[in-house]
Symmetry: C2
Subunit: 207 residues, 2 copies
DNA sequence: CTTTGTGAAATTATTCACAGCA
DNA sequence: TGCTGTGAATAATTTCACAAAG
């Protein structure tokens, strides 16, 4: 459920501000979600709150972290160290939220061996070995779209269970892994579409 | 409708391969969408196809471009020329798909005046004037999350109608503009969630 | 009086089934 | 036969309404 990640973010923000309780209505306020929606979503995972009082923020955060698999560190391999790859490497939130970029690969010989943000860029043909050795479970694909499918296969072959795909193509992985895509162009197009329709307001918190 | 952008992409791919007709089933094949879904989606905008034959790819492309507002060039202001901003500037698909980055702004004095990818980086306080002068209609926000809301307001103030937001916060714009967000962390978290649930398969083509 | 958790109702999205056309 | 367009059926999601609890 894509809203859960938003809830956790907001709950952690409030936690860091020293708040200790929150109601579903308060939680939804800054998130553009109704209180009922939040309660329904949470109820899927059991009972968290206390009627008349609300939710204990710390408990809720802990529980959400468990549900979302954020109670551990996810080792991640980044494939593609071009500008986008570099932006991803230096993207603060990843590191802070339990995602460790444990290795970086690229096909371009001129990049191999260089360091970006303190990380050495490795040859693509080391991928299999290193992913296995370090027990890397997730892959991030920031290669040109032509190379995306083969990169995905390589990652899956090496044992990766999930892929975050930045290439504007649909990856064919059958049921060998989970794939989540981030598609800049598609989003910009959606924006243009909405503007030409004259729609206003915020769409999607993720998404 | 977020699938429309996928349809256009696939239609253009086929067009560039010299195909002239396509059925809804063929179109959906590589997209993970059912044929019925495609027909339903398209039917919202009128009748395109020919029973028994399918869709004339060129007509369909033209029509989709109109619907999605891709029959013109969208001038865009990029705010935030850090690594992510630079990745966006050099992201091929944008330029190719009718989005022109007409100006780039940043708050960091050490970046002002430098050129990245042939584009001069400007002071933030020139934003208003330049957006008006050049009739820029869209804004891309790739600034740190603390600065995102104020950047959004500045862009809207200057007359921008739509914002593509890369900061992991919800922008409060009331009904003064359309906002579409791209949230890396949220997506990566979703991926981790799915992997910990053991779900497999591709999620979202855009999204 | 406030707020949760949850069935029931309403709404929205997707799929089915098929008439009609080439 | 192969295919579109669409009303009807089904499924999924969201909202409503309210009993129970602090």
């Amino acid at each position: 459920m894509k809203r859960l990640t938003l809830y956790l973010r907001e709950v952690e923000r409030r936690l860091s501000q020293g708040e200790s309780r929150v109601s579903s209505r308060q939680l939804g306020q800054g998130l553009g979600v109704t209180d009922t929606q939040i309660r329904k979503d949470l109820s899927w995972f059991g009972q968290f709150g206390q009627a008349g009082v609300g939710y204990a923020i710390e408990d809720l955060a802990t529980r959400l972290r468990q549900i979302l698999g954020k109670d551990r560190t996810w080792k991640t391999a980044l494939v593609g160290a071009g500008r986008l790859g570099q932006a991803i490497m230096s993207y603060g939130p990843f590191a802070r939220e339990g995602f460790e970029i444990a290795a970086v690969f690229d096909a371009d010989p001129s990049l191999i061996g260089t360091e970006v943000g303190g990380r050495r860029i490795r040859r693509l043909d080391e991928l299999d070995q290193i992913v296995r050795e370090r027990e890397i479970m997730l892959g991030i694909i920031s290669v040109p779209k032509e190379a995306a499918q083969s990169t995905a296969e390589r990652l899956i072959e090496a044992g990766v269970l999930g892929i975050l795909n930045f290439a504007p193509v649909r990856l064919e992985v059958a049921d060998r892994a989970s794939v989540v895509s981030v598609d800049f162009s598609a989003r910009l197009e959606q924006l243009a579409f909405q503007v030409s329709l004259g729609l206003k307001g915020s769409i999607d918190g993720d998404d």
